[in-house]
Symmetry: C2
């Protein structure tokens, strides 16, 4: 499996990405090969420092970075950006997957333009692992589509089902519709129509879900539009950060609490790990004609390594093809 990696996007420079990539090679399957796209000189140095010169890494030079604030339209004009170059390798079949820590909007726009959509998918969606008190679930869309039609949510349910089956190992994934109540009549018009379409579909649809059901582990797949999904995801990250800030403030004030916090260090570390969705291998853009994994700009080497693992799982298991088949399933063509 050959994977192209955009090595310009990380917030902390190419070192973290190289570190994750080399870890993946050292610990992954023997047939894994990586193509790093970025500032060739810098990448070479980072590889040498880490004694990685004998590993199967190819470097492709592209030192133009798409800034985190660039709009998608701006981004697709940059034909020589590391995102565009890495994607064209994938498009031309020189690699079988693409991983990026770059600007999400830029990655989505470039992927749609370069790879295109699968035949049976109208709206590709970004899927993300969501930690729960049980074993976690996948939520989509978390940012590719600010507005959706009800039929798109069914498509998201199909794509999420394939992800949950193969990546989360759930034999018969339960699909829930994110909504503001359990009854069919709840929510806005799109949610109400989606409820009907999901019920009529061949998916294992278990109804509307809210926060409690999701965190309790009632579903394996949560479908929502990319507006709600993205806002939720950022809330999740932030609320945990806030709890930490508040706890630190209180601990600083109290000696006994300081000692208690010291004793609980392993607990906090364990919790942080369990709740850090980045550690679960990036967020795949499902529904494009290829494998595209989007990582946080602040990804750790471990997150990069996990994203590479997920990308190669996608390739090895032919998940793109399976998503195409599954999405074609009982799609009602309404557009």
């Amino acid at each position: 499996v050959r994977i192209a990696i955009d090595a310009m996007g990380g917030d902390a420079g190419p070192g973290v990405i190289v570190e994750g990539a080399l870890d993946a090679l050292r610990n992954g399957n023997r047939d894994l090969e990586l193509v790093l796209v970025g500032d060739e000189e810098a990448l070479r140095r980072e590889i040498e420092i880490r004694d990685g010169t004998s590993l199967p890494v190819t470097l492709i030079h592209a030192d133009e970075e798409v800034s985190m604030s660039a709009s998608p339209t701006e981004a697709i004009r940059r034909k020589s950006s590391s995102i565009a170059v890495a994607l064209s390798l994938h498009k031309e079949g020189k690699t079988q997957a693409f991983v990026s820590t770059g600007n999400t909007g830029a990655v989505v726009a470039n992927s749609l333009l370069s790879l295109g959509r699968l035949r049976s998918v109208r709206r590709p969606a970004i899927a993300t692992f969501l930690p729960t008190a049980a074993e976690g679930c996948v939520m989509l869309d978390v940012g590719a589509n600010a507005t959706v039609k009800a039929q798109n949510l069914v498509e998201f349910g199909r794509m999420g089902t394939v992800y949950a089956r193969h990546i989360l190992k759930r034999p018969n994934p339960r699909v829930g519709l994110l909504n503001i109540g359990e009854e069919e009549s709840k929510g806005n018009e799109v949610a109400q129509e989606a409820y009907r379409l999901l019920t009529a579909s061949s998916l294992n649809f278990v109804g509307n879900v809210e926060g409690r059901g999701i965190f309790h582990g009632d579903v394996d797949v949560v479908v929502c539009d990319g507006f709600v999904g993205n806002i939720l995801l950022k809330f999740m990250e932030s609320v945990l950060g806030m709890v930490k800030t508040l706890a630190k403030k209180q601990i600083a004030r109290d000696k006994r609490a300081r000692f208690g916090a010291f004793l609980l260090k392993p607990l906090f570390a364990g919790l942080a790990e369990q709740l850090n969705y980045e550690e679960y291998g990036g967020a795949p853009l499902l529904g494009v004609n290829g494998v595209c994994i989007i990582c946080h700009g602040s990804s750790s080497p471990r997150a990069i390594r996990n994203a590479i693992r997920v990308a190669s799982d996608f390739v090895r298991n032919g998940l793109t093809e399976e998503i195409d088949r599954e999405a074609a399933g009982d799609t009602v063509v309404t557009e």
Copy 2:
């Protein structure tokens, strides 16, 4: 100040509501009078147990409860429910405010029907206090409107400004639009149009906000539609519950952590209090022609007492009238 309280709605029976009501009378202003609407016999007993017979409480009998699963349309048919009876007291001027722990949809529908909207408000909205790492903010709408127009979001900004000024004591409340990025061009069509309208308004609009900015304390008022707002609120409640569940599981496994957790008990209690938005006095339905405060069905006596305090603050400060004036402000009539 006379306040009508629907005493049928609480999950734990009337005892909790009576407890909160008596606490409010014992600790509040001398001119406070409460009218409890519910099963008269049961209420009398609960008051006697708590030695409250000499306090200024009037009982009005109405033993029909609107179930938590009843739809709003079902709810407004029940003319003799405790919600409807308590609201009619308020409507007729026999009380100046209304507090309920009942089914939110039922309270909203009955309030709109009974009290009606303020002249300058098109869409009343439920506002809730949101704890942050700073001093907290108010978010609206969190459930009265599944769909909104851009102009409604401006109205929410105006109503939230009045709340933040008087209840949160912020002299010049900063208003943020909940969105998926900071730039004006982000989000769905409603969000984009709302950005323009908010910028043109006389509000202290500081732009789009995401989770991080909100919890960092960048804004005093967060506006959003009731679909996103309600989903977020339930996520917030649940994610903290999940962290607790996960922490408990880990603590149970580890002796050292058990001791650490014991030492941290006051910290956890403090955190829980800081993060429990119910403790901040219920969620007012802003924009109706009256004072209507909605509490969680699982409210504690303290939450009830705080809701009564907020209700009397609304009355004493003439906030309903101020909301009407503020909303009339520079409203662009587009419907």
